[in-house]
């Protein structure tokens, strides 16, 4: 019936039936469009173009290392609240320099840092357990049950909260079940530092390669008993006394390196009786040597040497005692004539 009607309906009626809705809906669209276009002008919020420029040089990981709410929050804080330009850990010095260019400021010095786990335990074979933990497999949950399943109440429980917290895949597990941090991938965003319920992770400047791989504040004998890897810090203080620059302090039976003072000489690692100090450069350090032709005898190197390995009179060619030299390279950086090389 309807089909019949459609067929016999004059063309004019059909077109008028279509015209009304098309006009009404079209008019609605036009009016709304005009209102929005008008509103976009009236209610336009001026955004500082520098905010968008900074946002484009930030890594966009929204990791929160700058303590702002995401990269956009940080970009906003730099422009409007005068936040420091070098707070972005994943972006590193490149991002800081780029932001400084946009803001017309100096970038300031920024050492790249890397996360270091201050415990040598936590693997499949080198962890001692008091009880078998069968619960949710996160460190946070494990350490809350009767002080944690492992005998050492300071050490790594090995449920990899840090690995899950890492957004950059910088933490992997080796065949022994130990967490390995890839210094190239690590952006020092600090996510793992926050994730570790036992506060084992610290951000250490990349140039420093000597770490105390223990966080136990137990007294010596107890620390020895409970450590699964048998490399505990017993707080004996030998490293502190051997350190040429007094960078190590003992507090609560635990040695800690002050990385603002540490010259990366590795003497502490060789002195430690329990092997708790790891030195990545052990055996690979070079000794300093004076190039006689270039030395003008200014004595700057001798004054700066932390171990007094350099001797020589004013205006005489200086000599370096290779037995005393610890390979810290401070003299190389201080020599005004580039007369010292590492061999």
């Amino acid at each position: 019936m309807i089909h019949l009607l459609m067929l016999v309906m004059p063309a004019a009626t059909l077109s008028s039936q279509i015209t009304t809705p098309v006009i009404i809906i079209g008019a609605m669209g036009l009016v709304f469009g005009l209102i929005l276009a008008f509103a976009a002008k009236v209610f336009a919020v001026k955004i500082d173009p520098r905010v968008e420029q900074i946002l484009s040089v930030l890594p966009g990981a929204n990791c929160g290392a700058c303590s702002k709410a995401g990269c956009a929050g940080y970009a906003d804080a730099i422009v409007h609240d005068g936040a420091e330009v070098n707070l972005c850990a994943p972006g590193g010095p490149e991002a800081a320099a780029a932001i400084a260019r946009i803001m017309g400021k100096e970038a300031g010095s920024m050492d790249k840092k890397v996360a270091v786990i201050h415990c040598s335990s936590g693997g499949y074979e080198n962890t001692k357990f008091r009880y078998a933990y069968r619960g949710i497999e996160t460190c946070l949950s494990a350490v809350n049950i009767a002080g944690g399943p492992n005998t050492c109440t300071w050490g790594c429980v090995g449920f990899n909260d840090c690995l899950r917290a890492c957004k950059f895949d910088a933490i992997t597990i080796d065949e022994c079940g130990m967490r390995v941090i890839d210094a190239d991938k690590c952006t020092a965003c600090g996510a793992c530092v926050k994730a570790c319920p036992r506060n084992l992770i610290e951000l250490v400047p990349l140039k420093n390669t000597v770490y105390i791989k223990c966080s136990s504040q137990d007294k010596g004998p107890l620390a020895k008993q409970s450590c699964g890897s048998e490399l505990p810090c017993i707080g004996c203080g030998i490293c502190s006394r051997k350190c040429p620059v007094q960078a190590i302090t003992i507090e609560n039976n635990l040695a800690r390196i002050d990385y603002t003072k540490c010259i990366n000489c590795g003497i502490c690692a060789t002195a430690c009786p329990t092997g708790a100090i790891l030195d990545l450069l052990c055996g690979a350090r070079k000794k300093a040597e004076v190039i006689d032709e270039l030395c003008i005898g200014c004595t700057i190197c001798a004054k700066n040497c932390p171990v007094e390995a350099i001797s020589g009179e004013l205006k005489q060619v200086h000599k370096i005692d290779k037995d005393k030299c610890v390979g810290c390279e401070i003299c190389v950086s201080k020599c005004p004539k580039q007369a010292i090389k590492m061999v």
Partner: protein
């Protein structure tokens, strides 16, 4: 029935009996998508209440004074989507300019609900005749929009609370995440089915 009684009936039916998510199955996307954290669920809920109330008012006027006079009620879906999208865009611009604090808490959620089916659903239900042949007037339509938003927020917050607890439960690998959330949503819908028996 007096107006106050009608308002009470609308409130109870929009929040419990005819809840948008759990008995009409509208707005399931934000219900499952934004219910992972309590604070974002709350922000989303507030944005939905706001947009539903505004949209109910505007679409009711569009229907009554534009679509009905020209006999083109059949175009309401198209007209309502157009109206709601423009409205949300407009509101977003206004609050970004005039209330930056409100924009910070609601801003990210507003674009998500421009063409949300729950918002469109409330607009269409407002102009659909009820079972007894009567239909809402302007005030009741706006209140229906508001209480539907409250109902949505209510179940969204309940879901967020449950899902935050679910995070800590030791589940089989295959059930983690969305599967258990869908089962949870189904059980919640069954529980809300009990409200169908309410006689008001």
């Amino acid at each position: 029935m007096n107006t106050l009684g009608q308002i009470f009936v609308i409130a109870v039916s929009a929040i419990f009996i005819q809840n948008f998510v759990l008995s009409r199955f509208l707005g399931l996307c934000p219900y499952l998508g934004v219910s992972k954290k309590m604070d974002s669920a709350f922000g989303m809920g507030m944005a939905v209440i706001f947009v539903m109330t505004m949209a109910s008012a505007i679409t009711f006027l569009v229907y009554k004074y534009l679509l009905v006079p020209y006999n083109i009620e059949y175009l309401r879906t198209l007209a309502f989507i157009l109206t709601i999208a423009a409205l949300v865009q407009f509101v977003e611009m206004v609050i970004q300019k005039n209330a930056p604090a409100l924009y910070k808490s609601l801003g990210v959620f507003l674009p998500l609900i421009t063409t949300n089916c729950a918002v469109l659903g409330v607009a269409i239900l407002n102009v659909t005749p009820l079972a007894d042949g009567s239909s809402y007037n302007f005030l009741l339509a706006v209140l229906n929009g508001f209480f539907s938003g409250v109902g949505f927020t209510f179940v969204l917050l309940a879901m967020a609370g449950l899902r935050m607890r679910l995070e800590l439960v030791d589940l089989p690998e295959s059930m983690k995440g969305m599967p258990i959330s869908l089962i949870l949503a189904g059980i919640m819908a069954l529980a809300f089915y009990g409200f169908m028996g309410l006689k008001i």
